[in-house]
Amino acid sequence: MSLLFCLGCMSCSGPSGPIVQRYAPLEQERLCKVALLPFVNNTRFNQGNTIVQRIFGSELARIAGVEVVREGDVRKVYPQLRIYPNQVPDVDQIRILGSRLGVDYLILGTVSAMEENFSEQHVNPLLALNLEVHEAQSGRVMWTTYHKKEGRDYRTIMHFGLVNTVTELCRVMSQEILDMWFSEGLKKCGE
């Protein structure tokens, strides 16, 4: 019983949440329409950037009701501005992208760690990502957010709570990041 109590307490303390760095106050506090710029993959996980980008976009639309610009529209403007894949656009290019796509903010993500470590009965996924929120009008970085977690961080007791897939881990982490943003002052569209 005491063992269970200890395990329970361990899960209560939990791992740290997303780290938000603010560089400037947001001009537009309501997050209504955003564009996700193609994420950068710094891992060996095949298509890791696309996976994280699509899941984060899905959670933005689902949780926050944010209108996420179609990935195809963003990709179409990139060659017009001569931005190569895996290249980070400059400030003026971000301004043009923001205006063309009609968004308030543009989000650029970098996946710095993504892996699945296998054991006999469970898989322990690991994910670390960094997000930059750019203001469309000026192209400046307003916020950055770093978040790193692994599946066993969510264990409550015994095997309960474990996150066994990197997809699910990404989904949960995306929720945590959005929750953090809204607790930091960002507002949902219409609020």
Binding site: N46, G72, K76, S99, R100, G102, V123, N164, T165
Partner: protein
């Protein structure tokens, strides 16, 4: 017979009602499978989605129609679409909703696991209507006594897909506004980005649908803060405008302004162009030894561009001229200016040039096309100094004098070795100043060995010579010979 007909018709009607209950038509695009790389396709999930949505009362267009549409629109990628293709799906296929799917992970071993992202897009305005993502592995499902637990991907797929699709807002789908898609900016181009005053600036814009076809949209450009330029429709949906850059150095923003007949105005930032009328300011410096107050070289010379105000260049040209003004080498590039140039005294064909004066000319164009030129002259010397060795016999000694022939390049170093032919060395000296005298004992009368000299001289540019004098005694000029030479003040026939 009639009774049978009514029963069958009734059953068919009952079966058909749920299929079109919402009056919503869906196009289920092939699901992308990222676990198979960039071009992966997942047929089982695509088919499952088609079937599941049909079961939920939505009308799903046939795979054949969808495939034909994808071919027509040249859609090569799965998992996402751009707005123009979505609007086209509305017009071409008559669908209300587009369903896009991505398999984010799929693996059977060591533990079967599956992840997916599903998105329903409202085609009228190309916005996300619903989106869900999730991952599941067999380790996530623990039923009592292990009953009905999934053991492979085929078991996981319906469980996960159903779990996600359960939140699909069918009532929202039914209330979709089936209006007309808005005008969309498909393409913009602004050229050039850097211009000289008076240069023509051109902007092209492609819209979809064609402005004027459905809506009398006025298409204009806002250049700067309040200058408006009307765009002409030079081809269907393609608008172009040209104007002249002003006579002042500044960065000018350009925005596209679409104004509908109802007065609704949309502004899109297209970019900015920089007006620049000042030529780049730079000089070039050749770094090397100085001979007679001008830079000279013999092996290779480094030439360094030096900016007064650094700025990016669009192209540059580096050429070398000889004293006659003839260009003997030229290099033109569109890249950035290199930190330095190196010349090894060769022509374009690789052969060494003659000694003489050469001029380096660097031309640079900035991004607006403003040109500047910088030049410098250098001297090229490739011939080594000529050693002159003379010998005199006085009463008690032999005096050997080492000097160098004519030349403007100062001597850097000399080395002299005077020795008998069997190797006995009399002099082994080095120095930098010439001329120099060596005082040696007179060889004995019965001396049979030759007195030899090994002379090496190098100038400050690195030109070097090593010469062997096989018999120094033959160089000896006696007093009588000198006197004879002195008497010859006119040309004589020599026999």
């Amino acid at each position: 017979m009639l009774k049978k007909f009514f029963v069958i018709s009734g059953l068919l009607l009952v079966l058909l009602i749920p299929m079109t209950a919402y009056g919503v038509t869906v196009a289920v695009f092939p699901v992308e499978d990222l676990s198979r790389g960039r071009n992966g396709y997942n047929a089982p999930l695509t088919e499952f989605l088609r079937q599941n949505l049909a079961d939920r009362g939505l009308e799903v267009i046939s795979s054949e129609d969808l495939m034909a549409f994808m071919v027509r629109r040249r859609i090569r990628w799965l998992g996402f679409l751009d707005s123009s293709n979505i609007y086209e799906a509305y017009e071409d296929l008559g669908v209300d909703v587009v369903m896009l799917g991505t398999v984010s992970q799929l693996q059977e071993k060591p533990i079967p696991s599956l992840g997916m992202i599903l998105t329903a897009v409202e085609v009228k305005n190309a916005t996300t209507l619903w989106s869900e993502s999730g991952g599941m592995s067999c380790a996530d499902i623990c039923n009592l006594l292990g009953l009905s637990e999934p053991e492979k991907i085929d078991d996981l797929l319906p469980v996960l897909a159903n779990e996600l699709l359960n939140s699909l807002p069918l009532d929202r789908l039914a209330s979709i506004d089936k209006g007309t898609p808005p005008v969309e900016v498909e393409y913009t181009s602004l050229f050039p980005k850097h211009a000289r005053p008076g240069e023509e600036i051109r902007c092209s814009v492609r819209l979809r649908p064609a402005a004027g076809q459905r809506d009398e949209t006025q298409v204009q450009l806002m250049v700067g803060d309040n200058d408006y330029v009307t765009m002409n429709e030079n081809a269907p949906s393609l608008y172009e405008a040209t104007w002249v850059a002003p006579n002042r150095n500044e960065s000018i923003p350009v925005s596209l302004v679409l104004q509908s007949s109802a007065g609704e105005k949309q502004v899109y930032y297209v970019g900015h162009y920089q007006v620049d009328d000042s030529a780049p300011k730079l000089t070039i410096e050749a770094r090397g030894k100085k001979v007679n107050d001008s830079v000279a070289f013999s092996q290779k010379i480094y030439v360094y561009p030096q900016w007064q105000t650094p700025e990016p260049v669009s192209r540059w040209s580096f050429s070398i001229k000889n004293a006659d003004g003839e260009i003997i080498a030229n290099l033109t590039e569109k890249n950035a200016l290199p930190k330095h140039f190196v010349w090894k005294g060769q022509k374009a064909d690789g052969k060494k040039v003659d000694e003489g004066v050469y001029e380096f000319i660097l031309k640079v164009w900035d991004r607006a096309g403003n040109e500047t030129q910088a030049a410098t002259k250098i001297n090229f010397y490739k011939n080594p100094p000529v050693p002159l060795l003379t010998a005199d016999i006085t009463e008690q000694e032999l005096v050997v004098t080492l000097d160098r022939g004519e030349g403007v390049v100062p001597t850097a170093f000399w080395s002299a070795k005077i020795l008998f032919s069997d190797g006995e060395t009399l002099v082994d000296q080095q120095g930098s100043e010439l001329p120099v005298e060596f005082h040696l004992p007179l060889p004995a009368d019965d001396e049979t060995r030759d007195l030899e000299g090994l002379i090496e001289i190098q100038d400050i540019l690195g030109n070097k010579i090593l010469r062997r004098f096989s018999s120094i005694m033959q160089l000896v000029t006696t007093v009588e010979e000198i006197e004879d030479d002195a008497e010859q003040d006119e040309w004589v026939i020599e026999f």
